[in-house]
């Protein structure tokens, strides 16, 4: 059965709709509750994982390196849950990294503007009039966050199968529509789409295992074959390749590791100028 991924301009609205869909369809519900165990595994405070899903990196907030590390753990935990099937997922940015998986139904739900202003006002955003300005700012912030984290604009409707605004369509109707949609043949798991998701999950696990030592690694999986891309100066290439292979081969599901090491021209230039 399919995976339903809900994104929203408001965490509260998204959670409410996603929970109701899970109740209607009888699917499992996956949200930020999975971040606790993920944080314990990563030895990072849970608060930082939540921050990495909401804020761009900054001097006073999360550094770019820490944010990437946090997001890698979030992705690993989320993809592991999505493999289970029959899942409604919200609040973990899955719409931005579960790409090319045809049985993932992605829907964005937009809060009624007055309601969004009220929510912000309740969360300490000041009077509802002031909150309207905050809405615009938040939208720009969400766009900036998604572009920085996954190079995709999460406000762009082409990243979803459907966008539903709750201005005129009531939440019950939205829930019913999404639940009906998930029954369409196109959203049923196929051999290929399940393989795509499994590859992503394996790549996520390998990346997490490698990134403590090699934070810049990019990992792709195809069945049990892993392709790792990294950068190093010439004399370190051999050493790095062996280290990566040593770390990756022990991971469950990995049979073969291919390492591509590109020349790190900046470090190379710095070394040679010493």
């Amino acid at each position: 059965m399919p995976i339903i991924i809900i994104s929203s301009d408001s965490y509260k609205t998204g959670r409410d709709i996603a929970e109701r869909i899970a109740k209607t369809t009888g699917y499992d519900y996956v949200d930020r509750e999975i971040l606790g165990p993920a944080a314990a595994k990563a030895n990072i405070e849970e608060e930082k994982l939540v921050k990495s899903l909401e804020e761009t990196s900054s001097f006073l907030g999360l550094s770019s390196k820490m944010k990437n590390r946090c997001l890698a753990y979030v992705q690993e935990a989320t993809l592991g849950q999505l493999l289970e099937d029959n899942v409604v997922c919200h609040g973990l940015g899955a719409h931005l990294y579960v790409l090319g998986v045809s049985h993932a139904l992605k829907v964005r739900v937009l809060t009624e503007p007055e309601e969004l202003a009220r929510q912000l006002s309740q969360d300490g955003g000041g009077a509802p009039e002031k909150s309207r300005k905050t809405i615009k700012r938040l939208e720009a912030q969400q766009r900036k966050w998604s572009l920085e984290a996954f190079d995709l604009d999460e406000t762009d409707p082409s990243n979803y199968d459907m966008v539903i605004s709750l201005s005129q369509i009531d939440p019950d109707e939205a829930v019913r529509t999404i639940a009906d949609m998930s029954g369409y043949r196109k959203f049923q798991p196929m051999t290929y789409s399940i393989k795509c998701l499994k590859d992503k999950e394996l790549a996520g696990r390998v990346r997490v295992a490698l990134m403590e030592r090699f934070p810049d690694v990019r990992v792709q999986a195809n069945g049990s074959t892993i392709v790792v891309e990294t950068k190093a100066i010439k004399r370190e290439k051999q050493k790095r390749t062996e280290a990566i292979k040593g770390l990756a081969v022990g991971i469950v599901g990995v049979d073969y590791v291919e390492v591509h090491v590109a020349n790190d021209i900046f470090r190379q230039a710095a070394e040679s100028s010493r």
Binding site: S102, R108, L110, P113, T155, D156, P157, S158, Y160, D161, M162, V163, I164, S165, S167, Q168, I169, D170, E173, T177, M181, Y184, K186, F187
Partner: protein, 270 residues
Amino acid sequence: MAVITISRGSYSKGKEVAERVAERLGYECISRDVLLEASDHFHIPEVKLIRAIHDAPSILDRFKHGKQIFIAYIRSALMSRVANDNIVYHGLAGHVLLTGVPNVLKVRIIADMKDRIKAEMEREGISEEDARILLQKDDEERRKWTRSLYGVDPWDSSLYDLVIHISKLRVSDAVDFVCQAATKDQFKTTEPYRRKIEDLAVACQVKAALVDPFFDVGVTSEYGNVLIYTKTGDRQVGKLKARARAIKREVEGINHLEVHAGVQFPENAI
């Protein structure tokens, strides 16, 4: 019943969705008709108006206050049709032109670029690269046009009730969703809604009749009682009042008409 606007890019199958929704619900499907009516008023051939709309809103600037006049005419033409109810409109910026109409279901249909390129290649017999360039140019022109005339980005999903991505979803699925939503109570034309739409249609007609040369007026109508607002309090007001008296005879549905000079427009003024 309801009013449905379907916004679309070229080769996004939005026209097909609109026609099938209209057919299934037994509604009238309109698009170019509104343009034809507006071009009659505008006294320029439809083909020129299409170019102005599609390629370059700057053409409208050659006419004094061209943009305001154009919007007033096209809005009036569209609102007259909407007053008849049971309409699917898949033409220009319906979601913006029908601001104030309470029961409009606003839909946007989008499609994957690769599918659009394939459709354009097949239809025009051109290369993939040429099709991509043409589509990107077309999208950019449409975007520029709506921004220039209405100050909104048609790609902004918050302008619509539903944005449907024709890729994994088929045209028939999109038709199902739109028809299902359109039958909900919130989109039904109740008696107060009908009254409001009739008033809006009257206000739009009055505005269209005045806009050249009185481009800077606001018009409201309530139960056929029309108020014309102008910020200026000079001798133009005399001419405006004379024109307003003539309009009272020309436009149907006006009970009473007043001109208020030197005051701010209310928010709901056309």
